[in-house]
Amino acid sequence: MLALIRPDSWNFPLFLHILGATVLFGTVATVAIAGFASRSHAGYEQLLARVAGRTFLFGVIPSFILMRAGAQWIVGKEFPGDAKTPGWVDVGFIVTEPGLIVLIAIGVIAFMSSRRGGGGRLATALAVLASIYLLALGVAMWAMTARPG
């Protein structure tokens, strides 16, 4: 029952964090869908590469910032100062910080794919990397909600 009780001042950062995380989940999924679809829809590679690139630029980046800023804000309230953060918070940091490298790689590939007309190995790499990042987001979501330990 303690998990149900939280100060009102935590609600707004939590709302921003969850909203950012859900939109990030959806926009990364869109990048993956566009990557996979360009492997099976010959003649539409350029269109799908553009969809992936624009979704990354206007969806993934803003939602990542919203999710991460909300996380930092609420962690600052829940574990102020030098308070040690529990493992489930650390899982979130692992997904968002080292995971940022994967996200940057997705962005670079999406940009290159869009410039080169889409399709080919770049589209496959885009779909695979975006799927891996989706799995990582799933693990983070589980850790944030189940709070093991």
Binding site: M1, A3, L4, D8, N11, L14, F15, I18, L19, A21, T22, V23, F25, G26, T27, A29, T30, I33, A34, A37, H41, Y44, L47, L48, R50, V51, R54, T55, G59, S63, M141, W142, M144, T145, A146, R147, P148
Partner: protein, 157 residues
């Protein structure tokens, strides 16, 4: 993990699929707004079906495990925020469903045009930019964000 934690995991997974599916649909329909070739519009609207599956599964998970959570956590089924959240979830689904039905007609037109030369058509463009469809679809997304706010703040709980 206790029962509450398991229920919360499934409920939040549903919320992620629901809102994430909405984000997928929004990204693809926004991309369709900028296209004119019927086959391209057909492809993008076709991919939205993946989002519809995510939204449907997400709605079911969020609803069923949400009801279970209300019982498990000791809230009342007739608490104001619970009733408001369920009403808004139904409204969001009704709006999304109505927008989706209008989009079906757009898909049919795009399919016919793609099969007969794939030339841009003012009628198809008007359908893709149909303000009622757009208002229903994006309005549905805004209502879902309001549901998320209710879930976080739980006013009156």
């Amino acid at each position: 993990m206790n029962t509450y934690q398991w229920l919360l995991v499934f409920h939040v997974t549903g919320a992620f699929l629901l809102l994430g599916g909405g984000a997928i649909a929004a990204a693809l329909s926004l991309s369709a707004l900028g296209r004119e070739r019927p086959s391209e519009i057909l492809l993008l609207f076709g991919l939205i079906r993946i989002a519809v599956v995510a939204i449907s599964v997400g709605t079911a998970l969020a609803f069923v495990f949400g009801l279970w959570l209300v019982h498990e956590a000791g809230y009342g089924y007739f608490d104001g925020w619970v009733v408001a959240a369920f009403v808004l979830l139904i409204v969001a689904n009704a709006m999304g469903g109505a927008g989706g039905k209008r989009d079906q007609a757009t898909v049919k037109l795009a399919r016919d045009l793609a099969a007969s030369g794939d030339a841009p058509s003012p009628e198809l463009k008007a359908r893709v930019h149909d303000p009622i469809s757009l208002a229903l679809s994006y309005g549905s997304g805004l209502v879902l964000i309001a549901v998320l706010a209710l879930m976080v703040w739980k006013p009156g709980a």
